[in-house]
């Protein structure tokens, strides 16, 4: 089974999308060659998220499904077998086409569709689809309307959804667990409608969204440049050959502009499960059904983990890598495979024939051994060419692109270009410094925008998002403890990552050692984390600085007991 690959057909329209940086990052990985799960691997994000982005793009006609470029051959031998049995070529399909929008996207347990109640199957799917994505959709996405939709269209969309999720439409029926889900979805669509249906509130919300998007527009523009199909494109692939690029891939883009998004990755990297039999190449045709039974993240990870090194690359020095390094090396391996294919395509060569033994295909007449040798040769030469392309001049051109972008005022593009340069020459101090300088400039330029976002998010009681926005403000305003403290307090409010909250509050406290508020916040965080000794220290400092603070006093009294 060979799935289609997404291909951007209208790059100039990418900016229309209501995307955050994270989606922009994913969109920038679509090149008409990689399948969705390859994109997921390359971008270091979850498969489900890639699918969502691709689906959205396809829905808007910006992207379409193209027939896949057959993957290069590679060994299927599990690592332990490699020593005894030199790699054999086994056909394997990667890239399963995501289901069309509207159908189950493995967001929920299929058992939920089977619940014994009176909700019609069609309605169940709609409800579950919305219910499990409530946190990630903005108001427009939730109602399924374009950002420029007029009031009538928004009303129509809200009413149409109401007729599906309002409990009165199933009055007197057994709703089971769907009652609460319908109510939750109804509350959210009502909130969305109340904001978008009210002129003033919609203006505020649009300002917030555009602030969020302003980070992306630059990035999307860089995606849309004609350059993209040329050098930059290949540079990106070159980067993936470089082992030092792996951390960037694994962390999903280390750049500021890209790491902040509407939906920060909630799931920590799934543990690698080498023993997952489901992910072995032999059983891969059954992948789609497995995916629906397990979280998408873990599927892709285990899939990667067992994907052996490509036949064209030199054998990995470690025959049995430790589990932690396995994933990295697997990601790299996959990256290499995809890059080889992209290179072949970019260099205008016919893609290597799929080695799948097919009676009618010419490849079938060759012995698998010859076939493999030829392909390997081809890839080696492609790699050599690619290596030649990556001279230091490429670094220079990236830096120049960065400067140009900076001069044009497109700081996002500048940072992106500089980041590329860093990826190409990670050891060059001056390149890193330039990247750092641009990052700082971008952060400063965006601080006000982030502050507006943060305040809106606080006002809408979305403290987790507000915490992220405040920490961006802090980066843009070094030396100002206020955003750091607000970020810490928002994290406390959201009951989020207390360690991060502590780090932020500590920074603030170090910046202004005489600020009682910083120590008080720090103390509250320690109290929340149950770290009594540290809490006492922080609060005592706060009490020394401001002996009249009632909150500190009561907290101290409590702690000393």
């Amino acid at each position: 089974m060979s799935g289609a690959v997404p291909r951007i057909v209208a790059p100039e329209r990418l900016v229309e999308m209501p995307f955050g940086p994270r989606e922009g990052w994913i969109a920038s990985r679509i090149d008409g060659l990689a399948s969705v799960d390859e994109i997921a691997a390359l971008a270091g994000v979850e498969l489900a998220e890639v699918r969502r982005v691709v689906d959205l793009l396809v829905e808007r006609g910006i992207c379409e499904w193209a027939p896949p470029t057959p993957p290069p051959p590679r060994s299927s031998a599990p690592p332990e077998d490699r020593a005894s049995r030199p790699s054999t070529v086994v056909p394997r399909s990667i890239g399963t086409r995501p289901p069309p929008p509207g159908t189950s996207r493995t967001l929920y347990d299929p058992a939920e569709l089977e619940e014994d109640c009176d909700v019609e199957p069609e309605r169940r799917r709609t409800i579950l689809d919305l219910f499990y994505r409530l946190d990630e959709l903005d108001h427009y996405q939730l109602l399924g309307v374009p950002p420029d939709a007029d009031r009538g269209r928004i009303r129509q969309a809200y009413f149409a959804l109401s007729k599906i999720v309002h409990p009165d439409t199933l009055f007197g029926k057994r709703l089971g667990s769907y009652k609460a889900k319908m109510e939750a979805v109804f509350r959210r669509i009502t909130e969305a409608y109340e904001v978008l249906g009210n002129r003033r509130k919609r203006e505020e919300y649009d300002a917030y969204l555009s602030a969020r998007r302003s980070v992306l527009v630059g990035g999307a523009a860089s995606v849309a440049t004609p350059e993209r199909t040329g050098l930059v494109h290949r540079e990106a692939h070159r980067r993936q050959f470089d082992d030092t690029a792996a951390p960037i891939l694994a962390s999903g883009g280390a750049d500021d502009a890209l790491s902040h998004g509407g939906a920060p990755p909630r799931q920590p990297a799934a543990p690698t499960d080498l023993e997952t039999p489901a992910a072995t190449p032999e059983t891969s045709p059954s992948l789609p059904s497995l995916e629906s039974a397990s979280p998408p993240g873990s599927t892709i990870r285990s899939d990667l983990a067992t994907a052996p090194a490509g036949g064209a690359t030199p054998p990995h020095p470690d025959a049995r890598p430790s589990p932690s390094s396995t994933r990295d090396s697997a990601v790299q391996t996959r990256a290499r495979e995809v890059a080889a294919r992209r290179l072949a395509a970019a260099l205008g060569r016919p893609p290597p024939t799929a080695p799948q033994p097919r009676p009618s295909a010419p490849a079938a007449t060759q012995s698998p051994e010859t076939n493999r040798r030829d392909l390997a040769k081809e890839l080696v030469s492609a790699l050599a060419e690619a290596a030649a392309l990556t001279a230091s001049s490429r670094v220079q051109s990236q830096l120049e692109a960065a400067r140009r972008a900076e001069a044009e005022g497109n700081l996002v593009a500048a940072v992106n270009a500089a980041r590329m340069a860093v990826a190409l020459a990670p050891d060059r101090e001056e390149v890193r410094a330039e990247h750092g300088r641009l990052r700082q400039r971008l952060a400063e330029a965006q601080a006000d925008t982030y502050e507006r976002m943060a305040r809106y998010e606080e006002q809408s009681r979305r403290y987790a998002e507000a915490a992220v926005s405040w920490s961006r403000v802090a980066e843009g305003r070094p030396g100002d403890p206020m955003p750091l403290l607000r970020a810490a307090e928002c994290l406390l409010e959201a009951r989020g990552d207390l360690q991060r909250a502590r780090d932020l509050a500590l920074q603030a406290a170090q910046m202004r050692p005489d600020d009682a508020a910083a120590h008080r916040t720090l103390g509250r965080i320690y109290v929340a984390a149950g770290m009594t000794a540290s809490a006492l220290r922080a609060l005592e400092t706060a009490a020394r600085l401001d002996p009249d603070d009632g909150v500190v006093k009561t907290l101290l009294r409590e702690l000393r007991r």
Binding site: R155, F159, F171, R187, L555
Partner: protein, 607 residues
């Protein structure tokens, strides 16, 4: 599928409607009237009278005739509205065992839901007679300002009447449903409802998709037709004082006459431009001389007297629009509901405010019941592809330190909805918090209605402000409020489903239901007796009429004479039973009479 009837349980009149063949129709009562007075009386013989029959005897039996029970339903005995009613109503209002309101008719004390139940039962009977089947479910309307207690009391009244009230909806909402039903249109409309005692303005969105969304509801619970009457009364009193130096306020009887006359004049001035108020012998002067009140009131004068009241309603409309984020131009139609909207000044002011002529296509007396019937069908009939997105009528919250009211769910929130807020303890080592669930718009807790309370115990001993308690309010589509309180640290949770009290306990309601059911059975038996009696009388008359002819034909033969004797016996027995009024026995005699009648007709026919 059970038919659901829609009942507009009004202060003065009630109306019932049902969906038939996809359209709502108002059902006329036996007298052919589409509205039935919301009046209940108990006669000297202890007989219950409801509707027109109660109204007809009201003058002669004022003490035992209850009207406008709606003003009392769900209220506390010590509330100002009840105090006011005690002062003005001829029937006796007494305090119930739970601080609720009861009325005493003859020797029996009735709760207000019981009185309303009698009206609802009457409406149910009217519908059952029309439909020819039992009716068990109903949607009942209430004014938008009704709080949970009043809504619950209305539901209880339904239960006592043997009706499952599947939903309570607001009157203006019902009016909008009736207005928009079946019309393929997308509109934002305003319902301007100026009734006898209150003013409501509701804004709704109507869509051709079959969705009705209440955007907001606001109003003034102390602004209505009565205030207009009062202006006329004050004007009359002032004029009389200037003329005769006597204050008519001191005389209750005169005051009542002024009230009636003012209301009548007000109504008349809606169609004519001038009316005469003529109250002879209104009071005696100091010299024991009878004085008369005679004045001419013009429409212009009335408008001058009441312009500020109309302005008040317009201001409320403007504020409501603004709060809803809407412009006057966004309102595409205005529906007028309530008797006061017949006043030309009101119509003109509304037209000026919304910059459009109000819609005249709805019948103000029937529109609410029609809307209730529509909502009933929307809920239970799958063929009715429509849904009403309603809002909470009042703000819900809890009491916080200092006796303040902390809002959780604001007024006009679309239901179902839920909100959470985190609260902290106020005293050191406080191990329990009492959550008082309140409803109302005042920031002082005591001025709002208490819906329920519960205690969350087992809190960690800690200084004030240290223990965090998350309070969540939830309102489902049925308007049922549940409240959860959770200690965020221990995860300890307490929750209640708020059941507003109507002033009646479950046991009381159960016994009232039983009482009403027995009453319904007795009444039905009564009807059967009545039917048998009428039939017997008809048959007897016809038999008597046929007697001479039959005698002529068969009187010659012994067999014939024998038959005639038997017939005479049947008739005389039937007569005596009829005089005794024995219903059960009468049924048997009707059969005998029918046989005799058939035989007589046969004989005469052959001859």
């Amino acid at each position: 599928m059970d038919k659901v009837i829609g009942i507009d349980l009004g202060t003065f009149n009630s109306c019932v409607a049902v969906m038939e063949g996809g359209a709502p129709v108002v059902i006329a009562n036996r007298g052919g009237y589409k509205v039935t007075p919301s009046m209940v009386a108990v006669t000297e013989a202890g007989k219950r009278l409801v509707g027109h029959i109660a109204k007809r005897q009201a003058v002669t039996n004022a003490e035992n005739t209850v009207y406008a029970a709606k003003r009392l339903i769900g209220r506390k005995f010590d509330s100002p509205q009840v105090k006011n009613a005690i002062a003005t109503c001829p029937y006796r209002i007494v305090e119930g065992p739970h601080g609720d309101v009861r009325v005493k008719l003859r020797d029996k004390v009735y709760s207000i839901p019981e009185i309303s139940a009698m009206v609802l039962q009457e409406m149910k009977l009217i519908a059952e007679e029309y439909l020819g089947t039992d009716v068990r479910k109903a949607v009942v309307t209430v004014p938008a300002y009704f709080n949970d207690g009043q809504r619950q009391a209305t539901k209880d009244a339904g239960a006592i009447a043997g009706l499952d009230v599947i939903r309570i909806i607001n009157e203006p909402t019902a009016a909008a449903l009736a207005y928009g039903f079946g019309k393929q249109m997308d509109r934002t409309v305003a319902v301007y409802d100026l009734g006898g005692g209150t003013f409501d303005i509701s804004i709704l969105e109507i869509s051709s998709q079959g969705v009705f969304r209440v955007v907001s509801t606001a109003g003034d619970t102390f602004l209505g037709g009565e205030d207009f009457d009062q202006r006329i009364i004050d004007w009359l009193i002032q004029g009389f004082r200037e003329e005769h130096g006597i204050d008519l306020r001191s005389d209750r009887m005169a005051l009542q006459r002024l009230k009636d006359a003012a209301e009548k004049a007000k109504c008349e001035l809606s169609s004519v431009v001038e009316t005469e108020i003529n109250l002879p012998f209104i009071i005696s002067s100091n010299r024991n001389q009878a004085l008369h009140l005679q004045r001419v009131l013009t429409r212009a004068q009335l408008e001058a007297l009441t312009a500020d009241l109309v302005d008040r309603t317009i201001r409320i409309c403007e504020i409501t629009l603004e709060e809803a984020g809407l412009d006057k131009r966004d309102i595409e139609d205005v529906i007028l509901v309530g008797g006061m909207t017949r006043m030309p000044l009101v119509q003109a002011a509304v037209a000026k405010c919304f910059e459009r002529e109000p819609c005249k296509g709805v019948h103000p007396d029937e529109v609410v019941a029609l809307g209730a019937a529509i909502q009933g069908a929307a809920l239970v009939d799958e063929r009715q592809d429509m849904v009403l997105l309603d809002v909470t009528p009042h703000t819900l919250g809890i009491m916080v330190v200092g006796g303040y009211f902390e809002e959780l769910i604001p007024q006009n929130s679309t239901v179902p909805t839920s909100r959470s807020k985190i609260f902290t303890t106020v005293r050191d080592n406080q191990t329990a918090v009492k959550i008082l669930v309140l409803q109302g718009e005042s920031h002082r807790a005591e001025e709002n209605d208490l819906l329920g309370e519960f205690v969350l115990t087992g809190l960690r001993r800690a200084p004030a402000g240290q223990v965090e308690i998350e309070v969540t309010f939830e309102i489902d589509a049925n308007g049922i409020v549940s409240v959860h309180a959770k200690d965020l640290e221990t995860g300890k949770e307490q929750s209640i489903t708020v059941t507003a009290t109507s002033g009646l306990t479950q046991e009381e309601i159960a016994s009232m239901v039983e009482d009403a059911r027995q009453h319904a059975v007795a009444r039905r038996a009564d009807e059967q007796t009545e039917k048998a009696r009428q039939e017997a009388e008809t048959l007897l008359a016809q038999i008597e009429k046929l007697f001479p002819d039959v005698e002529k034909v068969v009187g010659a033969s012994e067999f014939g004479r024998d038959a005639l004797d038997k017939a005479r016996a049947v008739v005389s027995r039937a007569r005596s039973v009829l005089e005794r009024g024995d219903g059960t026995a009468l049924a048997e005699h009707v059969e005998a009479l029918q046989r005799t009648h058939r035989m007589f007709r046969g004989v005469v026919g052959r001859g």
